[in-house]
C-alpha cells in the first residue's frame, strides 16, 4: 500500500470521459478510496479526461453537487492510478487541515432552472390549468403509457457522468412513474482499439467491476477491479494464468450471490437473448482473451453452443465486434422500468461506447 489512509477511505466521485471511463473503474480496487455512487456522497471529484466539449457544463454541474468541503483532481491520460490516488489522498488531507479555505467554490451560478414566473407570492394571476405556465411554473402533462392510465410524463436526461451508466453516455428518458415511454441514447463515440489478449481482458474486467457495482455487489466489484489492475502491471503468461484462475474463483463466488437468477429474463433484446446470456458471453470472452483462445476482433467465439442469432447479433461486451445501434436500443428500452434499462445497458458492456456511426449521422 503506497499511501496509508489516516481518515478512512476518501469518498470520490468519478467524472470520466468515454476514453478514460473503463480504466477509471480500477479505482474500485483501492482501499484508500471509496467510489461514491452519487456526487453528493463524495469529497473529491476525480475528472478522468479527456472530456468531449459538450460535457463541460455537465461537469461543472456535477462539481457543484459535491458537498463542502470538496476538492477536485484531474486525471490526465497516461498518469498512473497510484499517482491519482496519492493526489486524492493529499487533497483530502488538505481539506481536513483547512476545510473552510481549501474547499472549492461553485463553478456555476446557483440559479433556479425554472424560475418563478407567477404574479404575486402565491402565483395568483397565472394563466390556464394545463400547459402554458399555470401559476408561473410549467406542469407535467399527461401522456399515453403502458397501462393506459395517462399519467404525467417527465423527461429527464441522465448522464454523461451518472454512475450507473457508461462514461459519456446520455440517456434522455421520458418517464411515467419509473416506466420509460420514450428513450434516446447519445454517445460521442469512442474508437476502441482493435486488440485481443491481455488488453481486451483487462477492459473486460474493468467493465465487470462496474457492472457488479451496479448490481449492488461492491465487494465483488473491488475484486474484479483488482484483477484488472493486476493485468495492468504485467501481462506475461504467469500473470494471465493467475488472473484466469482468480476470475474462475470470482465466478464461483458470483454463483452464490443470486446474480444469475436476477439477470435471467431481464433486458431481453431481439436476437441477443437476456442480460444473463450477455453476461455469460462476456465472462467467457474475458476468459478466452486471457487464455489466448480469442485473438482479437472478429474471431469466432467458439464453445457454449450458439443460440439463435448468435452469429449475426452477437455483442461481445469485452471487445465489441458489432457496434451497438443506440437508436434501436433506445426504442427497445421503451416500456421497461428505469432500473431494467440500466441493467440492459450495463449488460451490453463497452459496446454502448461504440455506437453505429450511421445512427449518429441520421440524428444530425
Amino acid at each position: 500500500m503506497a499511501v496509508r489512509p489516516t481518515a478512512g477511505p476518501v469518498p470520490v466521485s468519478v467524472a470520466a470521459g468515454p476514453e478514460a471511463w473503463a480504466s477509471s473503474q480500477e479505482l474500485r480496487a483501492r482501499p484508500e478510496l471509496e467510489v461514491a455512487t452519487s456526487p453528493r456522497h463524495a469529497t473529491v471529484l476525480v475528472v478522468a479526461g479527456p472530456l468531449p466539449d459538450g460535457d463541460r457544463e455537465a461537469l461543472d454541474r456535477t462539481h457543484d453537487q459535491l458537498p463542502h468541503p470538496r476538492a477536485s483532481v484531474a486525471w490526465d491520460p497516461g498518469t498512473a492510478v497510484g499517482e491519482v490516488v496519492a493526489a486524492v489522498v493529499a487533497a483530502d488531507a488538505e481539506l481536513r487541515r483547512r476545510p473552510g479555505e481549501a474547499s472549492e467554490p461553485d463553478r456555476l451560478p446557483d440559479v433556479d432552472p425554472n424560475p418563478w414566473r407567477g404574479q404575486g407570492p402565491h402565483g395568483q394571476g397565472g394563466e390556464g390549468m394545463m400547459g402554458g405556465t399555470p401559476y408561473g411554473r410549467a406542469m407535467a402533462m399527461t401522456d399515453e403509457d403502458r397501462d393506459g392510465l395517462a399519467l404525467d410524463a417527465l423527461t429527464v436526461t441522465l448522464g454523461p457522468f451518472l454512475d450507473p451508466l457508461p462514461g459519456g453516455l446520455r440517456l434522455e428518458a421520458t418517464l411515467q412513474g419509473d416506466v420509460l415511454t420514450a428513450a434516446a441514447l447519445r454517445h460521442p463515440g469512442l474508437a476502441i482499439p482493435a486488440a485481443g489478449g491481455a488488453a481486451a481482458a483487462r477492459r473486460g474486467l474493468q467493465w465487470l467491476a462496474h457492472a457488479l457495482h451496479v448490481h449492488g455487489l461492491g465487494g465483488h466489484a473491488a475484486r474484479a477491479a483488482a484483477l484488472a489492475a493486476e493485468l495492468g502491471r504485467g501481462a506475461d503468461g504467469a500473470t494471465r494464468a493467475s488472473v484466469e484462475a482468480s476470475l474462475a474463483r470470482l465466478c464461483r463466488r458470483l454463483g452464490r450471490t443470486g446474480l444469475w437468477w436476477t439477470l435471467a429474463g431481464q433486458g431481453e433484446l431481439e436476437g441477443q437473448g437476456d442480460a444473463r446470456r450477455r453476461w455469460e458471453e462476456a465472462l467467457d470472452g474475458i476468459a478466452a482473451h486471457l487464455s489466448g483462445q480469442r485473438a482479437g476482433r472478429g474471431a469466432d467465439p467458439g464453445g457454449g453452443g450458439g443460440g439463435a442469432g448468435r452469429e449475426t447479433g452477437r455483442v461481445d461486451p469485452v471487445d465489441p465486434v458489432d457496434p451497438v445501434d443506440l437508436e434501436a436500443l433506445g426504442a427497445a428500452l421503451v416500456g421497461r422500468t428505469l432500473d431494467e434499462a440500466v441493467v440492459t445497458i450495463t449488460s451490453l458492456g463497452l459496446g454502448t461506447l461504440r455506437p453505429v456511426p450511421a445512427a449518429r449521422e441520421a440524428r444530425r
Binding site: 402565483g123 408561473g136 403502458r146 397501462d147
Partner: protein, 208 residues
Amino acid sequence: MSSGAAADVAFVAFALVAVAAGYRVFRTDSMVRATFLLLASFLAVGAILVLLAAEYLGTALLFMMTVEMVVMALFMVMFMMNPAGLNPMAMVHQPRLAAGAGVAAGVALAGVAVVADFPDAPVAGSAGAVAALGAELLGPSMLVFESAGITLLATMVCAVVLSASRGRYGPTHDGSVAPPLDPGGDHRPTDDLVEPGGGGHGHHGSHS
C-alpha cells in the same frame, strides 16, 4: 384503562394532534403531506384507543391505516396534477357551505356529547381485553367476523374489476366523453386522450 395525570396529559396531547393534523390535511398544498397528516391523525386516535384499554384496536388501526395511507400517497402522486403543491392552486368548491356544514356538525355532535347523559360503566382494565375480543369474534360475533372476510374478498374482486382497463364490454374508454379543457368548450371523445397499449380497436362508441 390507564388513569391518572399522565394519562390525561397524554390524552389531551394525542387529541390535539389528531384534530390539528386532521385540519391541516385540507390546508396544505402538498398532497403527500396531506396524506401523511391524515395518517398522523389516525395514529393519534390509535394511541388514544390504547389509552382507553382497547390495545388491540389501537395497534390494528396503526398498521391498517399505514398501508392505506401509503397507497393513498401513491394515488395522490398518480392522479394529482400538482402533487407536491409547487404550484399553489385552490382546489375547493362551495367553501362557505362546506365550512358551515362542518362547523355545524361538529358543534352539534359536541353538544350532544356534553349534554347527553351516558351510562357510567368504565372498563375494568386492559387485562383480558384482547383475549375477550378474540373470544367474541370467534364466538357470538362469528357472523360479523365472517361477513367482514367475505366483504373484503368482494371488495378486492370489485376493485380489480373496476380499475382494470378492460371492462365486461370492452375497453372502458370506448364511447365515453371527456370533459372540455376550457369552460363551455366541446366535449371530446376520449380516444385521443387514453390509448391503451395495443391500439387498433374499432371506434364503435354507443353514445357518439
